[in-house]
């Protein structure tokens, strides 16, 4: 928490936190009155000696502070946000309106413990509706909405796979992931106690089939694939991969992060996948909230059904009841129904879309991505030159030789009211620029983005030095990340 000595001379501008705005004796919101006799105090040893140093402000002070902070964000409502792998689409307002209804917001989760399902039939019906709709979209036979985010869903999926092998008396050691995978895949494997085998990608950007075949054996518990993958490529040999894995009784895990490309086109369950997680904050338009909450429902086929977590619902005589997990259940990964309020938004969105709407979403997402791919392919390096799905990946490695990196291009865009694409991911592409426009952007916005990207390349060729000064309009430019770690300051010392 130390600050370098000459900081005062060096500092150009400082931030003002909520603590800096605090004034002794100021009060925010009034609390309900003390209308009962005051109780006799607990023993001193149980009591707090110094009150928590929370700030003291009026309600209006607080409102102004956070309203001003909100203005320092880019967001999908304000800005084109082509972050690859993140599916930053418009979040329809109808979902927020429904989710704010008193009848959904003020339901206590221990109604489950009390088995008082009569009073919450509406909530349980929305859970059922979501589970059934997701089954239909993915071709799986059952869903659980208990996982609280995509990575949490991954963990549940891998736990069920472990239980499946255990139930066959068949402990396994490895999980296979391609080198283009999301970091959560190998991290999840490790969370559940597996070692990871990473398979390189072939010249088309797909997992190298021969390398995979060589590593596939009876010690492999499962293969985790993102389909289409993080390069936006649909693996043509996916069925062969499933068949080979299944011949060793290994499970196929479908990372559904990129479901937005494929709704109504190909169902993971039909292809042969055994388990899938869905990121509803991507495909099903629930807001990202600046980093969360998500919700990560998990679907399984009949093979993995017995291992579903403890807590679900079923309909008996026209009434929803709770179910606990069977004797093979992995147990609980969440106390109740995960991020229910987020799952609710997802089913509202799906209700508006219906079957045609969902297919149309994927179709337009792929249309927008391919349009960008073609418009920009003469200006950047193209690591894999083929039709893409919902996102396209370029490389700035030629530009980088002249000193302008993918990060420089990203920072340049910020000055033009656009969020940057994902850069430096997937890790297998040098100077990667990963662009996912989503289906909700119109052609004019996409054209402006493409024009700006082309402008950036021209400028980079002419004057690479100029790039280091971007962004110029956001008040701050290029954080010193090394300093952030060395002079670690992660809390206010007011």
């Amino acid at each position: 928490m130390s600050i370098v000595e000459n900081i005062e001379e060096k500092l150009q501008s400082t931030v003002e936190t909520i603590f800096d705005k605090s004034h002794e004796g100021r009060h925010g919101i009034p609390l309900p009155a003390f209308d009962v006799p005051s109780a006799s105090s607990l023993d001193e040893s149980l009591l707090r000696q110094n009150r928590a140093k929370l700030p003291q402000l009026s309600e209006f002070d607080v409102v102004r502070h956070y309203t001003n902070l909100s203005n320092k964000n880019m967001s999908i409502d304000k800005n084109f946000y082509p972050l690859g792998s993140c599916t930053m689409k418009y979040n329809p307002k109808i979902a927020e309106r429904v989710a704010a209804l008193d009848g959904f917001v003020n339901i206590h989760p221990h109604m489950v413990t009390n088995n008082m399902n009569d009073d919450i039939q509406g909530t349980l019906e929305t859970v059922d509706l979501l589970e059934k709709t997701l089954c239909e979209v993915t071709g799986m036979s059952a869903f659980t909405t208990t996982p609280q985010a995509g990575a949490h869903g991954e963990m549940l999926g891998v736990m069920m796979i472990e239980k499946y092998h255990e139930s066959k008396g068949n402990k396994r050691k490895y999980i296979i992931v391609p080198d283009s995978s999301h970091g959560t895949n190998p991290a999840t494997a490790a969370m559940v106690g597996y070692d990871v085998i990473t398979i390189k990608s072939d010249e088309h950007g797909a997992m190298d089939f021969d390398a995979f075949k060589e590593k596939m054996n009876e010690d492999v518990a499962c293969v985790m694939l993102t389909v289409p993958n993080t390069l936006g490529i649909y693996n043509k040999r996916i069925k062969e991969i499933c068949d080979l894995a299944h011949s060793f009784d290994a499970m196929m895990y479908y990372d559904g992060a990129n479901m937005n490309a494929i709704m109504g086109v190909a169902k993971p369950g039909d292809i042969g996948f055994d388990v899938i997680h869905i990121n509803v904050h991507k495909t099903f338009a629930t807001p990202h909230g600046g980093g969360g909450p998500g919700s990560g429902p998990v679907g399984v086929n009949d093979k993995l059904k017995p291992f579903l977590p403890d807590l679900g619902i079923k309909k008996v005589n026209n009434k929803y009841e709770f179910t606990s997990g069977g004797s093979d259940s992995i147990g609980k990964i969440s106390p109740f129904f995960g991020n229910y309020g987020i799952s609710l938004r997802a089913i509202v969105y799906m209700t508006v879309l219906g079957e045609n709407g969902m297919h149309n979403v994927s179709s337009k997402a792929v249309l927008n991505a391919n349009y960008i791919r073609v418009r920009l392919k003469d200006y950047f390096d193209v690591p894999y030159d083929s039709l893409c799905m919902h996102e396209c990946v370029f490389s700035a490695k030629t530009l980088a030789k002249s000193g302008v990196t993918a990060m420089d291009i990203a920072k340049y865009l910020l000055d033009f009211g656009m969020h940057a694409p994902t850069v430096y991911f997937p890790l297998i592409v040098k100077e990667a620029i990963m662009i996912e426009p989503t289906e909700t952007e119109n052609k004019e916005t996409i054209d402006i983005f493409c024009d700006r990207m082309i402008e950036a390349v021209k400028l980079a060729r002419k004057d690479p030095e100029a790039f280091k000064a971007y962004p110029k309009t956001l008040g701050v430019c290029r954080p010193d990340d090394t300093r952030a770690i060395k002079e670690l300051d992660i809390r206010s010392t007011h």
Binding site: T17, H27, G28, P32, A39, S45, R51, A52, L54, E59, Y66, S70, M74, I76, M88, I94, R97, V98, L101, G103, V105, H108, M111, G122, T126, V137, Q148, A149, A151, G183, A187, A190, G193, Y234, G264, K267, P287, G291, P293, S334, F336, F337, G338, G341, V348, V352, G354, E355, N356, G357, N370, T440, E441, C477, A484, E487, L488, D489, R491, S492
Partner: protein, 443 residues
């Protein structure tokens, strides 16, 4: 088509540029044999019909009964300003703040959040949020295993019953030994716990106030843990920290908690958020995101994601956790809540909960056929035993307009007639008096 802006001429122009004839050609890379004909789903609805449909579903739920359910999820006040500010789409439609210059709003809020959590818990450092209280406790246990390089976790039976189950699930897949230490009453038996502590234990997980509402001074256990270089991990109830000794002063090593009570709705259990706070020396073992303050190239102060070498997107299988999305928007709500309620407000809120709970306890204890089961002080929850089965008791009171508490017989043996009651600042004296009258009536 909903939410896609493409006109016919847009589609044609774009396909021309791409060099395709029709839209369906876009999916040429998907093998034909994998393509599906259709999904068996209804047609889409306009948003007005959709709203009516869900409004009807919401109306099937009952929300007008007086709430005495707690057990980790509480019916506390939610100030209007929290909804208004967190409802700004500049916050809720932003992504994870990877591009720092475009995310200074979210980043500063999280820096303030980390600071507030440190103040609240008395701990040195906090991350930027976890999923919820249960998973935060499980991650704290994994953290303790990494720090101590030991493989055995003790859990006090006074920890929230569903949290124990979640912790057990997380740990069993890692072959970490878990022992739940039973309690014979509502209280932790300190000598029984201390007997179990030796130099093979990674950590002891406890909750204060415990699931039954009982408050105890865990100092002697914490001392014994430290003598054995084991960690004390406490699951806290943030509102109670307006009154009860903070974990930092108690000497706790890792604190986890659920943040629902700080300005978030019940929402059937989620979204809420989890907090995790610890000592500075353990920073490299923290899971999840951390926000730091630094300078930009021109020496302006700014905020960034920092210490990212712990995280999955950098470290992959060697990361401290697989967590990616956290519960940012709920952490933001609590930052705003804690700023609104302020230093005096939090103490007052805790005092209100305590006073009202004590009042209800004393009124109920005068009813024949009803016993208060707690043998030690409580904060705002307590257990009652009546001559009726918990099922009967709760369903009769539900008919009278009260959710009278949590049915402990569904969670524990020998608790057939026991109910856990929780009281918050929202319960008025009038409601409490009516409740006492109703309870007297059914017994």
């Amino acid at each position: 088509m909903p939410y896609t802006p493409h006109t016919k001429s847009d589609i044609k122009e774009m396909l021309d540029v791409i060099g395709l004839e029709k839209e369906s050609d876009l999916f040429d890379s998907v093998p034909a044999e994998l393509k599906v004909g259709h999904m068996n789903l209804p047609d889409g609805l306009d948003e007005f019909t959709t709203f009516s449909k869900f409004k009807k579903l919401a109306a099937k739920n009952v929300t007008d009964k007086v709430m005495f359910l707690g057990g980790g999820y509480y019916d506390h006040i939610v100030p209007s300003a929290v909804d208004a500010l967190s409802g700004r789409s500049e916050f809720y439609t932003a992504y994870t703040p990877y591009q720092a210059e475009a995310s200074q709003g979210t980043l500063q809020v999280l820096y303030e959040y980390q600071s507030l959590i440190c103040e609240l818990t008395g701990m040195e450092i906090s991350n930027a949020s976890m999923y919820d209280g249960a998973t935060a406790l499980a991650e704290a246990a994994l953290m303790a295993v990494r720090i101590s390089r030991r493989n055995k976790i003790l859990i006090d039976a006074g920890v929230n019953e569903t949290y124990i189950k979640v912790v057990q699930t997380y740990l069993k897949f890692r072959d970490i030994e878990v022992e739940v230490i039973d309690m014979s009453s509502d209280k932790t038996d300190f000598s029984k716990v201390e007997e179990k502590i030796d130099n093979t234990i990674a950590a002891y997980l406890f909750q204060n106030p415990n699931f039954f509402g009982t408050v105890q001074d865990f100092t002697s256990i914490i001392n014994k843990l430290h003598e054995n270089k084991a960690l004390a991990v406490m699951s806290a109830y943030p509102v109670s920290l307006g009154m009860l000794k903070d974990p930092g002063s108690l000497g706790v090593d890792i604190v986890s908690a659920d943040g629902q009570c700080l300005g978030n709705y019940l929402s059937f259990g989620g979204p809420s958020f989890g907090m995790i706070a610890t000592r500075q020396e353990y920073i490299r073992n923290l899971p999840g995101r951390i926000i730091g303050k630094t300078l930009d190239k021109d020496a302006n102060e700014m905020f960034v994601l920092t210490m990212q070498a712990r995280e999955q997107h950098i470290r992959r299988q060697r990361a401290t956790s697989n967590i990616c999305s956290n519960q940012n928007l709920l952490a933001l709500r609590s930052t705003i809540f804690l700023s609104l309620i302020g230093r005096d407000g939090l103490s007052k809120m805790a005092q209100l909960c305590f006073d009202k709970s004590e009042y209800l306890k004393s009124q109920l204890s005068q009813i024949d056929g009803l016993t208060i089961c707690n043998s030690a002080p409580t904060f705002n929850e307590f257990v009652i035993e009546t001559k009726l089965s918990a099922d009967d008791f709760l369903s009769q009171l539900s008919k009278l307009g009260f959710y009278a508490g949590i049915n402990l017989s569904n969670l524990y043996d020998n608790s057939k007639n026991r109910v856990l009651i929780s009281v918050t600042e929202k319960r008025t004296k009038e409601e409490l008096d009516e409740f006492v009258k109703a309870v007297g009536g059914v017994l």
